[in-house]
Symmetry: C2
Subunit: 376 residues, 2 copies
């Protein structure tokens, strides 16, 4: 159930209630692709980092360790030791971005594992069965992500197929949730809007899937190389057709500035590998801008990454120490930087929520936008 | 100051008081070579792992980030965020094991950095100055580690030089501790016994250095490929000549069984990369034996690494999850396994101390020796 608590323009302050806990929105979901946050962060650490939702990946977990294994271990939450909600991506994006030798049919997609080359078939029913085995709180529909840029005619066909697949996902999930022994019989389904960068296709597709009364709606197929302005335009285009009473999720986005812009356009949920991936390459976020901890100027800098940050890393460690750890290629460098960046994203969302509650989101965004994306 | 609290045969229960805190002995020092435990473990984590002493390396830290940097940051303890005692190895062992193109003279050793090939000279005075910059609690004397097996005549000459170097170390440290602005003006010096595998040389060298009234005495140059029986024989040979009222440190040792055997022969302090290195390769310790977490039999094993262990990892994570993390090459696999293994070593020492206090160390050792070294 989604409650809209407050709005400021299009920006929404909401509360999404799931069987595994409440999610205060707007929220950033922390990406644990293979049931672990990259950089040596456990689910227990995530509690200290103010994470609300962990996001795991159907494609990766189906290949390794196998969703049958995760199911036998009681589902993802028991397997990872995470008490809160988990969202599983459907595998659609990975089938189209990682797997070689794929062939798309009306049934689904034939592809080769990027790990061992073995032949695998995944369609809407398979994706739903895997996600049911994983026992996630929220399952994503199995969709086709078309490449960017896409041909208009291909995008039309692909959207229609994605809608047909969504109907099959919904039907399959109803069966799985009702089956005896299902790990999470209250699993929810989010549909995914597609349509490449064509506004008319995006709107038409959104209107179609909005009628299906799903638990939430995502905008997929963005942040795949198109200019940020295209992404913002598409959100603004699609948003008026998204049900008001359901959470809205912009998949795979983005920079802190992207988040501010998307919240302003009515988005509630986000996920992105950016905070953890950047951190592993020594790029850390502050509200005054991004730092590269490899920079020699930090050699003797006794300040924390961010003097205004109260994360477990900034309370304890200096830029000089982190700089040394990166130069010495110590794994601790990655762990500490990932912790800082995830906390930065989660805290940013907390402050966005407070700003909307207090009717000062526009000013908050204007102020932060001046500095948050620059290099310092 | 070292107090001998209790003995059982040769085994000693002691308390070593330093300016940075007390060390209950026998103790295992946790190795943070480049000012970080490998595997993504911070000094703050070490508190939870019952670590008493962190050990860092003079050679590595001199090359990177430079002891001048560490000094400017307030010394190793401030740099790493560790409140307890730190022991710094002198660099002697690394100069002889890692650096190419070395040339030994009476002054010291000319060698090339293993990082960038730059030419470096290190002698007793240089090692002491670096360790003073690092601000460690305990500095180790700069010694020569001869290769195993060694020629008798070479070992004689080398021992004599190591003794002369020790005298220079002691003199230099006295100056450094008295100098204004020294980070730790109470830095202590441990001498290192050498003599390869020749009992007469070992004993003669130990008797010589015992007269120098140092803060502690180490046995060096062991665990370099000789059979364990040779190591045990040398400890037994040298031990009667070690001052009773000073801590005794067996450098670079070893397996859990080695620790039990060495404690029985009168050793108080240990260090070894084994718990962290083994953990990073999925080898974890339990008192019932060693496990390889890569083994397929753990795929669906919901038990913790060790059912009898109360470490932060065994309280939270299953063998199945750790097995998956290793297969998926997630850094979290290393972190969790290193945490477990360090806790295992630190807890083993706690139980050794309790056993000596209660006069049941012999039985404790006999019981554990049956299982601790086997593969399960």
């Amino acid at each position: 159930m989604f409650e809209l608590l407050q709005t400021e323009g299009k920006a929404r302050r909401g509360r999404f209630t799931t069987v595994h806990g409440k999610v205060e929105t707007p929220a950033f979901m922390n990406v644990a692709t293979s049931a672990a946050i990259k950089g040596g962060i456990s689910s227990y650490d995530l509690v200290d980092l103010h994470c609300q939702v962990e996001l795991c990946n159907t494609y990766h977990l189906h290949l390794r360790p196998g969703d049958d294994v995760v199911s036998d271990m009681g589902g993802l939450r028991a397997f990872m030791g995470w008490q809160g909600p988990v969202l599983t991506d459907s595998g659609g994006f990975q089938v189209f971005s990682l797997a070689p030798l794929r062939r798309i049919t009306e049934d689904g997609v034939y592809f080769s594992s990027h790990i061992d080359g073995s032949h695998i078939f995944m369609g809407p029913e398979e994706s739903m069965r895997i996600q049911s085995n994983l026992g996630s709180t929220i399952a994503m529909a199995f969709d086709e992500c078309v490449a960017n840029p896409a041909e208009y005619e291909y995008a039309v066909q692909s959207c229609a197929r994605t809608t047909r697949w969504l109907e099959r996902c919904k039907k399959e999930m109803a069966c799985l949730n009702a089956a005896p022994g299902t790990i999470n019989p209250h699993q929810m389904l989010f549909g995914i809007n597609q349509g490449a960068t064509f506004d008319d296709l995006r709107v038409a597709h959104m209107r179609q899937i909005a009628e299906m009364d799903l638990d939430g709606y995502a905008i997929g197929g963005l942040a795949v190389g198109e200019p940020a302005e295209d992404m913002y335009r598409i959100i603004s285009c699609v948003e008026p057709h998204m049900p008001v009473g359901k959470p809205r999720y912009l998949m795979g986005v983005g920079t802190p500035l992207n988040l501010l812009e998307a919240v302003e356009r009515g988005i509630d949920l986000f996920d992105c590998v950016m905070p953890s991936r950047n951190a592993r390459h020594a790029h850390v976020f502050t509200r005054a801008g991004k730092r590269n901890l490899m920079n020699a100027k930090y050699t003797r800098d006794s300040a924390p990454i961010d003097e205004t940050c109260d994360c477990p890393v900034c309370k304890k460690h200096s830029r000089a120490y982190l700089h040394h750890l990166f130069k010495a290629e110590e794994l601790l460098a990655m762990r500490l930087s990932v912790m800082h960046n995830l906390y930065f994203y989660n805290r940013l969302m907390e402050d966005i929520r407070a700003a909307i509650e207090e009717g000062r989101f526009a000013a908050f965004k204007r102020e932060l936008s001046r500095t948050i994306d620059r290099r310092i």
